[in-house]
């Protein structure tokens, strides 16, 4: 009734209408009629035109809701007031509406128009609140309206409205998951927002809607890191947790050296030069196997660590915990220590906070004990701590115990044993047991201490001690027959069944150590047999059996006696056991086959139990998460990925245009350091340069191809060759040279110096030819050369060691990750090209190069291609990066009346729309007149398919060729996209049909993820075929090469040698495609494809089968 008085005050007695009902309690009864009447009453108040009455009514209704009472029948009366002018009434109406709209969907629709009006209000706060309420109404019919509202709000001028839009995204998603794709677009847009207000909310939306789309973060990564400190605290938690996951996919394990080189690793890394050499030698050994370079942290990784560190000082425990887990999972071992102090500080907080923090500290102490050792005393237990906290602290203390501090800890434990809290005492005894097993030096001390506890007056303490002693003794029974004897004596006094049973088991198990006492104990036990508890009886039987087997002379009669007693026991378990034992040990006429093994059965050596922390191995869950706390995967938990083998391309985080200038300096710095997942530059360079030259020379793709393959096999030599060749040829065109010079001036290469001398001309034309040839020739030539070139790789490295010059070059080489170079060069090129030949240069969409080789580190092929990019003179976007790229004919030279058009699937992400497949089209004008305004017209597409045309080519001079990129969303089908290619004079009907393997993009998965995903794609989604591998496909390498050539998949690391796994996602719908090739003896193999889209799966099987059997 207290509520009544409160509202009396507020109302000032203005209305007494609803008074008696206000304090109405369900307990006080109240018949239906009065209930009905009450609501009538409220309705009347709501219908009145006095705001104060309405407000009063609404307050009472909201109070009903708060207390969990049903007020749904008032819906029509309330919803009428949604447009009420009084802001307070309105707010309460909103509260009501959000609560009941789900139940009264039709009526709720009446209110929608009000919010739609609100969305257009000039006041940002009203817009935001309208969106907030609109999106909270869980009525499926309004999904399109919500979608529209969210989209609009996402580009609102006010950051507050944008924040509200971010909040609305998960609401809509939970209402209708089908909207995911559209929502992801909104999220992508909002992620780019630069205000702190939005950052936290949008990352929250990201985590709820599409946590797997880690690629959306790349461009925003640095911004998020920099904004972090100014984001509100709750947003910080979400962002930090997300960035932890992100970093695990993008950076290398900072502790890699430890795991690789064990102890010496760190020293070598920080050590002086000669140690470095040492390191390099080791590396050279491991190169073929691990191809690891000394670890240097990615500056972006460092940025994250640096920017989160101040947040350890946050007042918010959740933020501190988030940073702590970030450091635990991401920081180099030497830096993790900083979090200990902050975590210890949290121990001062509320007991719930302590509980969670201690759980996490317990896990951390197993991995990184040293971190918390200085704070040992902070984990001392007070008698006033709640039991659950005590037990957790005990866990931490046990984990922290080592040779140096064990005496202090044991002294501390001694006081705990006297506690009144018996659960805690039992846990302490267990803890002592664990310390004893872990630290050999104190095992005897602990044992003695525990033995002393055996004379404790509290039975529970004694019982627990017996159980722990039993476990300890099992580890080294020979030395402790005294203790066993002592425990044998205890059977007279101790009554706790579990303890008695344990003692009996011990005596039976080690009866050979106490040959005199054991029969005596059995005698005593036989006497009291009938009064014992069941578990004790079972152990008496056990003891009797073991003694009979070892010492049958003394104990035969006793055993018979005990067995007879047991035979008539009330408990059938005991009767059964007696019967079983009798058959087994007492020799009879037709004793079973087993009886001769009786001794083995009973007296087998039992492994000592391992006393382990329950927190062991819990760190595979992200610390601080609910799943970690429960030690079970909670719904919606995102696995913390394993570190990648090699770092994915760091340049994806480079932000475009405005930050460009800023970035370059940083990038240069980075280039010096960043570990390069690729092989050294030299080989890579030789290939393309040479091919370029040779092509310009001969003009025939096939020839150049063979040369190239040659270059692959003997890279060192061929390099020289290529250089000389270059010299000759380059004299022809000066301009090419000039360009090359500029490009090469950065990466230090011998070629560049040489090419400087010669002068170039006809650069434009030449370049075009080069371009054309390259893409044409590669498809054939490189495929062949790949395997060889990979071999030559190792050779060349050996060679290089002898040659100092080259060695130098090599040293320099790994420091420059080619993708970045490409990017920079491409940038430069664009400038340059536009200077030189404006008319020709084609500003194709996708200024971001994003070379594809962030996956496929295992495949040399890709690496080489990545490198090949660096040297070419072409706009990188239009270069087919993959050697296995095949050119398809779109328009033959003859039908095209001199205009030849070819296309290939470049496997580059198509940046304007990630759901599209990038198709690179090459136009060659073979006529003698120029061709104008090449463009696409009138696409005829299957439903759902979309096309993104390339920008019109205004002019294609005679003899020239040009490359452009267009995007097609094939909707995950192999249906052809038909359209017209138009020139200024003619139109040609053409169609592009994708091979199934091009409808996907690589996906990174770890082995575990792969298995998990595969497990979810069984049955109908799995297609399996047996095949005989073709002659050339017997090796792993060949399989990888063929499969990746056939389909745009990435390789998944795999433990088994016999298996190769690949993963990808379909471009349009993102369905996983998993491919497994398991080799069998004798050239056979099993191909398995798991894919949600069965059609794709079937076609892919066919394609790969074909590729592998050839």
């Amino acid at each position: 009734m207290s509520t009544t008085s409160a509202f009396n005050d507020e109302k000032g007695g203005s209305s007494s209408a609803g008074e008696p009902e206000y304090g109405h309690d369900p307990a006080s009864g109240g018949i239906f009629s009065s209930d009905y009447k009450r609501h009538d009453d409220l309705k009347e108040m709501l219908d009145s035109n006095k705001d104060s009455l309405k407000l009063e009514a609404m307050k009472r209704i909201v109070a009903m809701i708060a207390r969990g009472k049903n007020a749904s029948d008032l819906f029509p009366a309330v919803v009428k007031n949604v447009a009420c002018k009084n802001i307070e009434v309105k707010k309460l109406v909103y509260v009501y509406l959000v609560r009941y709209a789900e139940e009264q969907q039709d009526l709720a629709l009446l209110s929608i128009s009000t919010f739609q009006r609100g969305l257009k209000d000039p006041n940002q706060l009203i817009r935001a609140s309208a969106l907030r309420v609109l999106s909270s109404i869980r009525v499926t019919i309004i999904v399109p309206i919500m979608m529209l509202a969210i989209k609009e709000a996402a580009s609102d001028m006010s950051p507050y409205v944008r924040k509200t839009a971010a909040h609305a995204i998960p609401k809509l998603y939970s209402l209708d998951p089908e909207q995911k794709d559209q929502l992801i677009e909104v999220i992508e847009k909002l992620l780019a927002d630069k205000t702190t207000l939005v950052a936290g909310s949008v990352v929250m939306a990201f985590e709820e809607v599409c946590p797997e789309r880690i690629d959306l973060i790349h461009k925003n990564y640095r911004k998020l890191c920099n904004l972090l400190i100014d984001v509100e605290e709750w947003g910080q938690v979400v962002i930090i947790n997300m960035l932890t996951r992100y970093a695990r996919t993008q950076f290398l394990n900072p502790n890699i050296n430890e795991s690789l080189l064990e102890e010496g690793g760190e020293k070598a890394f920080y050590g002086s030069d000669d140690e470095d050499d040492d390191d390099e030698e080791k590396k050279a050994e491991a190169a073929a196997l691990a191809k690891r370079k000394p670890y240097v942290m990615d500056p972006d990784h460092r940025l994250l660590l640096r920017n989160t560190k101040p947040l350890l000082q946050s007042r918010n425990a959740a933020v501190v915990m988030a940073v702590a887990q970030l450091y635990f999972h991401l920081a180099p071992k030497a830096e993790v220590g900083v979090i200990a102090k902050a975590l210890v500080r949290l121990m001062r907080s509320h007991s719930e906070v302590q509980y969670v923090v201690l759980q996490n500290v317990a896990t951390m102490t197993i991995k990184r004990r040293g971190m918390f050792e200085p704070y040992l005393k902070s984990f001392y237990i007070r008698s006033t701590d709640p039991t659950q906290i005590k037990i957790l602290k005990l866990e931490v203390l046990t984990n922290l115990a080592n040779e140096t501090n064990i005496s202090t800890i044991l002294r501390e434990f001694q006081t705990y044993i006297k506690s009144m809290d018996k659960d805690f005492v039992a846990a302490t005894i267990q803890a002592i047991g664990r310390c004893a097993t872990n630290i050999g030096e104190v095992r005897d001390t602990c044992l003695n201490g525990l033995v002393q506890l055996l004379s404790n007056r509290d039975e529970l303490v004694v019982a627990e001690s017996v159980v722990v002693i039993k476990k300890l003794l099992q580890m080294q029974p020979e030395q402790h027959s005294d203790i066993i004897k002592h425990m044998a004596k205890l059977t007279d006094n101790i009554q706790v069944p579990m303890a008695r049973a344990s003692i009996l088991w011990l005596i039976g198990e080690y009866c050979e150590h106490v040959p005199k006492i054991a029969p005596d104990v059995l005698r005593k036990m036989a006497k009291s047999f009938t009064n014992e508890e069941d578990i004790v009886k079972l152990q008496i039987l056990n003891l009797a059996a073991k003694l009979y087997l070892t010492n049958s002379k003394q104990t035969k009669l006793l055993t018979q006696y005990v067995l007879n007693l047991a035979k008539y026991d009330q408990n059938y378990d005991i009767r059964d056991r007696a019967r079983f034992i009798r058959q087994l040990i007492v020799p009879t006429d037709k004793s079973g086959a087993l009886s001769k093994y009786a001794k083995k059965l009973f007296l087998a050596l039992k492994p000592a139990p391992v006393l382990e922390s329950p927190f062991k191995d819990r760190d595979h869950f992200q610390l601080g998460s609910l799943s970690h706390l429960l030690n079970a995967k909670a719904g919606g938990y995102q696995e913390l990925p394993d570190w990648p083998e090699s770092a994915p391309d760091p340049s994806v985080r480079n932000v475009e245009v405005p930050e460009w200038t800023k970035c370059t300096s940083r990038k240069e710095r980075k280039e010096k350091k960043v570990e390069k997942p690729f092989y050294s530059d030299s080989e890579g360079e030789s290939g393309p340069t040479e091919s370029a030259d040779s092509e310009s020379d001969t003009g025939s793709g096939s020839e150049s191809g063979s040369e190239e393959s040659g270059s692959g096999s003997e890279s060192e030599e061929s390099e020289e060759e290529s250089e000389s060749e270059e010299e000759e040829e380059d004299e022809e065109d000066e301009r090419t040279k000039k360009k090359k010079k500029i490009e090469k001036s950065k990466p230090k290469k011998p070629e560049s110096a040489e090419s400087d001398q010669s002068s170039g001309e006809e650069q434009k034309r030449n370049r075009k030819v080069v371009k054309e040839r390259r893409s044409g020739s590669e498809s054939e030539s490189e495929e062949e050369s790949e395997s060889e070139s990979s071999e030559s790789e190792s050779e060349s490295e050996e060679e290089s060691e002898s040659d100092t010059d080259i060695k130098k070059k090599k040293k320099a080489a790994p420091s420059k990750p080619p993708p970045k170079q490409t990017k920079k060069e491409s940038k430069k090129e664009t400038k340059e090209m536009s200077l030189l030949d404006l008319d020709d240069f084609d500003p194709t969409p996708s200024p971001q190069v994003t070379p594809v080789n962030n996956f496929l580190s295992s495949s040399l092929v890709a690496d080489l291609e990545g490198l090949s990019l660096t040297d070419t003179v072409l706009a990188p976007t239009t270069i087919a990066p993959s050697s296995s790229v095949r050119m398809y004919e779109l328009l033959h030279r003859i039908t095209g009346e001199g205009l030849a058009v070819e296309y290939c699937f470049s496997r580059q992400p198509f940046s304007p729309d990630p759901h599209m497949v990038a198709v690179q089209i090459q136009f060659t004008n073979n006529t003698s007149s120029e061709s104008k305004s090449l463009h696409i017209e009138d696409p005829k597409l299957q439903s759902g398919m979309r096309i993104k045309e390339f920008p019109e080519i205004e002019l294609l001079p005679a003899g020239e060729s040009v490359n452009v990129v267009m995007g097609i969303d094939f909707c995950d089908s192999t249906q052809a996209a038909n359209f017209q290619l138009c020139t200024h004079t003619r139109k040609f009907f053409v169609s592009i049909q994708p091979p199934v393997g091009e409808l996907m993009v690589p996906a990174f998965l770890t082995e575990n993820e792969f298995k998990k995903e595969q497990g979810q794609l069984m049955g109908m989604n799995e297609i399996s075929e047996k095949l005989n591998l073709g002659e050339k496909c017997q090796s792993d390498h060949a399989i990888v090469e063929r499969v990746t050539a056939k389909a745009n998949l990435s390789r998944v690391p795999c433990g088994s040698e016999k298996e190769n796994r690949f993963a990808g996602k379909t471009v349009s719908s993102g369905s996983l495609v998993l491919v497994t090739v398991a080799r069998k003896e004798g050239g056979g193999a099993q191909l398995t494809v798991n894919c949600e889209k069965m059609v794709i799966g079937t076609m892919l099987v066919k394609d790969i089968l074909q590729a592998l059997t050839q």
């Binding site: 409160a6 708060a66 998960p170 500080r345 923090v357 659950q388 601080g624 429960l630």
Partner: protein, 418 residues
């Protein structure tokens, strides 16, 4: 994130429920009740309870269980911290956080919860912003009610959320501009039987009450900032300044707030202001025991130790106590088995002593352990670590504020083992 919240009192009544997404039946609380029963003490209820479809994360504060329902993965501390914020907000609004006040202000509570979370994700948790939107219940509030018909729309909208300093409301005006800082230090210690220190540390906080007009920019510096080993700040404090200059620079929230918490370097030996001589023993025969406690001042830096209070959790077998105190009064509650001795001010000349006999349940074995003593105390005008505020400067605003700093030392978790 947070799906629903139930407030439950000690007797198991759900007196408030709030859902931020679709409604979850209150029957989900049955799992909580089950866990509560199993735990016995409210302190021992596990903060995270797993049910077949949900996870319950709860805190226990002021005799109320705040039980939140979670459906998917969320950092547990996130929820726990938030629930504590809710409790603090109630305290801020209603002076105390109790079942009665919550029930009295049900509508305000409900509105607050509505504003604090949106779809289960925290929206506005700064008291300054919330107070702008939802007025605390005062006389003023009832006046506002009568004139709401003409109330201005903007006034009740969360303009504070738009600000870059969300903790401070705009247009603050005071006639008396004042800023007070309380440096409160607590000694956490465990002393063993013989009086030697097993573990001791000093934790401190600086609570502020700032009532300044406009947008003042304050700088607080210490004489000996090196003492501070570990610190955590209110979001208003500029961390960079602290890192480089060891000064606190901030634009304060309006009203009461905790500026910082700190931990004093453990290497500095902690001065223990009192000593305790105790002798508690239980006899094997006659089911009785004896108790003799003397408390005296030790390192008090010349200040008086006040509000000394000794609390002892007696073993279950102790039925009653028959004691005499030379100073203060004692009470023994035979139900909870808690003996409280309220001494008051410590007198240097005549040390307070509590002596007498305890009677035990007849026939029961004598208790294994002697109960430990928990001590409370307070010393005014002293920060036991020696921390001193040097000066407070104000920038931006022109007026001259009234400034004050107060020091207090208290016992935190101060326990004497026996």
């Amino acid at each position: 994130m947070i799906h629903s919240l139930f407030l439950i009192n000690n007797s198991g009544d759900i007196f408030l429920e709030k859902h931020w997404k679709s409604v979850i039946s209150r029957s989900v609380c049955d799992y909580f009740f089950e866990a509560q029963e199993k735990a016995g003490e409210p302190d021992n209820v596990p903060p995270v309870i797993r049910t077949p479809h949900h996870y319950l994360i709860n805190i226990y504060r002021e005799k109320i269980f705040f039980v939140s329902v979670i459906q998917t993965e969320v950092p547990p501390l996130f929820v726990i911290e938030f629930l504590h914020r809710v409790a603090e907000m109630f305290q801020d609004y209603f002076g105390e956080c109790s079942e009665v006040t919550i029930k009295d202000n049900l509508v305000i509570v409900y509105e607050l919860l509505e504003e604090m979370l949106d779809n289960g994700f925290p929206l506005a948790t700064e008291s300054n912003i919330l107070k702008e939107m939802i007025k605390p219940p005062t006389i003023l509030r009832s006046m506002v009610n009568t004139i709401t018909g003409s109330s201005n729309l903007g006034a009740t909208l969360p303009t504070g959320q738009l600000s870059t300093i969300p903790w401070r409301r705009a247009d603050v005006k005071y006639t008396n501009n004042e800023a007070y800082f309380d440096v409160v230090e607590e000694i956490d210690a465990i002393l063993d039987k013989s009086g030697t220190t097993v573990f001791a540390e000093i934790q401190g906080v600086i609570d502020a009450c700032v009532k300044l007009s406009g947008m003042p920019d304050l700088t607080l510096s210490f004489m000996n900032p090196r003492l501070l080993d570990d610190v955590s700040f209110h979001p208003c404090v500029r961390f960079k300044r602290w890192e480089s200059e060891r000064v606190l620079s901030f634009i304060p929230p309006d009203g009461n707030f905790r500026l910082m918490s700190y931990h004093v370097n453990a290497q500095n030996l902690v001065a223990i202001p009192v000593y305790v001589k105790q002798n508690i023993s239980f006899f094997e025969s006659g089911s009785s025991g004896r108790l003799d406690i003397t408390v005296g001042p030790k390192q008090t830096m010349g200040k008086t130790v006040e509000c000394v209070l000794v609390t002892i959790h007696m073993p279950k077998v102790v039925l009653s106590a028959n004691l005499t105190a030379t100073q203060g009064t004692y009470t023994y509650d035979p139900v909870t088995k808690i003996l409280v001795w309220d001494i008051g001010k410590l007198n240097q000349q005549k040390l307070p002593n509590l002596k007498g006999s305890l009677s035990l349940q007849s026939g029961a074995p004598k208790p294994e352990e002697n109960p430990s003593l928990n001590i409370d105390l307070k010393i005014q005008q002293l920060a036991i670590s020696g921390l001193k505020v040097n000066r407070l400067d104000m920038y931006v605003e022109k007026y001259k504020p009234f400034k004050g700093v107060k020091y207090v030392t208290k016992a935190g978790k101060f326990q004497v083992r026996t």
